[in-house]
């Protein structure tokens, strides 16, 4: 049982034509024993490559990977005591479920056959696939295959557990179900886990900690809510959350923000947080925008409803500042609220909810203030 540590890990691929691609750029991360780290980021950002370096399937261009006190850079996969679940499951199609699950134990340990049988059967029982042991993978449903892939990994009782988009081949309902199951399983196993996904829901709901990668570089590591509410930069702010945060380019003019569409007065402490930065981006999440039929208080603006997307439990309302062809921004309101396209509404953007970013570096200068309410106080 040990922590997994990545120190300045870099991976450079050299293509045949001599081009160098830095797939992973100087990434440092610590995954504590028992911790569940979710690695997210857009396609091609280096998630899989990072995972494969940890597994030993890809060499490390520079930096160190340590498991406990051991540097594992030069170790072969089988010496690392790591188990991995692949996106495609990579089940051996010619072997039964039992053979698939035993294979790793037979190859990498001296465990006697009877004990292997026992281990495999108890793991299968735990995963609810005890009665499928004699089937071939092709005769299993997607969810069952997924469980076999998990089973194959857990029987080996590894130090570190790696999962590369393990749910992406399942349909929505099954994915939701497996998500919860996986989470429970990891809690039970209590082993350091890296989980790669590009699904936000998975990232938010499963992670102890999220690590966000972009273009090979680590953007932020934090709890899901930290990343949601206190994004380190523009990229994280736009990547996390659906519908995405609304952004307005803004210039600071004294204690006022000036955008193409509106002016926004800032409180003193907000101004202080900005320091010298004048070229800014104002961000606000759709659910933080309040819509009212009338009103003219501070931070309220006359807008026109462009489109309403009713989602049942909520409505996404696309708003524009007067001009129909200007870019719209989105506010999310309760599904029971009725708004019609074309209607005029007042949008209120509360100051405690705004994010401000430096436009050139993208760095967050000021994140929203969090005043979490306990359930007790809220009405619903």
């Amino acid at each position: 049982m040990a922590d997994l540590q990545l120190d300045d890990v870099t991976k450079v691929f050299t293509e045949r034509d001599g081009n160098e691609i830095t797939a992973v750029d100087d990434v440092s991360l610590t995954i504590e024993d028992g911790e569940f780290l979710v690695l997210v980021g857009p396609s091609g950002c280096g998630k899989s490559t990072t995972l494969r370096m940890v597994a030993g399937l890809e060499s490390i261009s520079s930096g160190q990977i340590r498991l406990g006190d051991t540097v594992v850079n030069e170790m072969k996969p089988k010496e690392r005591d790591i188990a991995m679940v692949f996106q495609s499951y990579a089940l051996y199609p010619h072997m039964t479920v039992r053979e698939n699950m035993s294979f790793g134990l037979e190859e990498s340990t001296d465990m006697p056959a009877t004990q292997i049988t026992e281990t495999v059967e108890s793991a299968a029982e735990m995963l609810g696939i005890g009665d499928l042991l004699e089937r071939k993978p092709d005769d299993l449903s997607g969810g069952q295959q997924q469980r076999v892939a998990l089973g194959r990994a857990i029987v080996r009782d590894p130090e570190v557990f790696l999962l590369d988009e393990p749910l992406s081949n399942l349909d929505a309902k099954l994915r939701a179900q497996m998500r919860t199951e996986l989470q429970r399983l990891q809690e039970d196993l209590d082993v350091a886990t890296i989980y790669v996904t590009h699904d936000q829901t998975e990232a938010m709901t499963m992670a102890d900690k999220i690590a966000i990668l972009n273009d090979g570089e680590l953007q932020q590591v934090g709890t899901p809510l930290e990343c949601y509410h206190e994004p380190a930069n523009l990229f994280v702010a736009s990547f996390i959350g659906e519908p995405s945060m609304n952004f307005f380019d803004a210039r600071r003019d004294g204690t006022q923000l000036v955008t193409d569409q509106f002016r926004y007065d800032l409180a003193d402490e907000t101004v202080a947080a900005l320091g010298e930065h004048d070229d800014l981006v104002l961000g606000v999440r759709p659910e933080d925008i309040e819509l009212r039929s009338t009103g003219s208080d501070e931070h309220s603006y006359e807008t026109t409803v462009d489109v309403v997307e009713p989602m049942g439990n909520e409505n996404n309302v696309y708003l524009t500042f007067g001009d129909k062809h200007a870019e719209s921004f989105v506010a999310t309101i309760d599904g029971m609220n009725r708004v019609e396209a074309g209607q005029s509404v007042v949008a209120h953007i509360p100051e405690e909810a705004i994010h401000l970013f430096d436009r050139s570096s993208g760095r967050a200068l000021r994140n929203r203030t969090l005043e979490p309410t306990a359930v007790a106080e809220a009405q619903f």
Partner: protein
């Protein structure tokens, strides 16, 4: 497997086979492990083994009669180098090469065309029973031609093209090759058409095109890669055919190159130099096709 595969390669010296080995650019020479050296050694030894018949044939073909008698076939033709065998063989085989071309090219084109038409009719248009027809086609690919030789002879002697015109035999052979080429061409085209997006054809139907127009405007242009494969396959098959020619051709003037090469070998039994030169000349077109279109050739072979 040779012993070297038991040696574990470095982590990224991957054993998997997706063909594009990006790792090799990191300098194979720099990290040639003993396993790799053994691997290349084995591969080169196999190359030697595979090329040796051609090598000994080639050296022999350039040797004069004396040099051939006196030197080992391993030895390159330095003393007693001559191109006479090539000239002799070429003059003997010239007319048969022409016959082969006149036969092979139209036969290959026709069988590919028929195959493509049949595959289109049997793949992209849905009606019951097409699977049965396809089973017949598939089986026909594998039928030993011995099972049809006698009736084939009978059939053509009843039709009697050879009595109408001295070249009639070649036409008989041509039609025969087309007929026996259709099954494999159909199977090849069909497996290709199955990978073609069915929605393409449906889109064209919605666009108002008839089956014939769809074939002409959509399927045919998209089949060009497969035409390359089938044409190359059929070209080599028909060029290399011996059995049908042996049975159907009786007039020497109509001999195709395989027959004439066999005749040459028979009449120059002791002159290996001429035989070898002749063999190379007869093989030249298919070797050229193979070298120029190796990819398509390989595809045709694997169906």
């Amino acid at each position: 497997m040779t012993a070297d595969t038991t040696t574990e390669p470095e982590p990224e010296d991957d054993v998997n086979g997706d063909g594009d080995d990006n790792d090799e650019t990191q300098g194979h020479l720099a990290r040639l492990s003993p396993g790799r050296i053994a691997l290349y050694g084995g591969l080169l030894a196999l190359v030697a083994a595979y090329l040796s018949p051609l090598y000994s044939g080639l050296t022999t073909a350039f040797k004069s009669q004396d040099a051939y008698r006196e030197t080992s076939p391993l030895q390159p033709p330095i003393d007693g180098f001559t191109v006479d065998p090539w000239l002799t063989a070429a003059s003997e085989l010239a007319f048969a090469m022409l016959n082969s071309f006149a036969l092979t090219i139209p036969a290959a084109v026709l069988s590919a065309l028929f195959g493509s038409l049949a595959a289109y009719g049997l793949t992209k248009v849905d009606w019951r029973g097409q699977a049965l027809v396809l089973v017949l086609f598939l089986a026909a690919v594998f039928i030993p031609y011995q099972a049809v030789l006698v009736p084939l002879r009978q059939f053509w002697s009843m039709v009697g093209l050879s009595q109408i015109h001295p070249r009639g035999e070649l036409v008989e052979l041509l039609i025969t090759h087309v007929a026996y080429g259709i099954p494999i061409c159909t199977i090849l085209f069909r497996s290709y058409y199955q990978t073609l997006d069915g929605e393409l054809i449906e889109a064209a139907r919605l666009d108002g095109a008839s089956l014939a127009r769809i074939y002409r405007k959509i399927v045919l242009p998209l089949s060009i890669p497969m035409f390359a494969v089938t044409l190359i396959y059929q070209f080599t098959q028909i060029w290399n055919d011996f059995l049908f020619a042996l049975v159907l051709l009786s007039n020497r003037a109509n001999y195709v190159v395989t027959l004439e090469l066999n005749a040459l070998a028979g009449s120059m039994a002791t002159d290996y130099s001429v035989q070898m030169a002749g063999a190379f000349i007869a093989a030249l077109p298919t070797i050229l096709v193979y070298i120029l279109f190796g990819e398509q050739f390989a595809k045709g072979q694997t169906m």
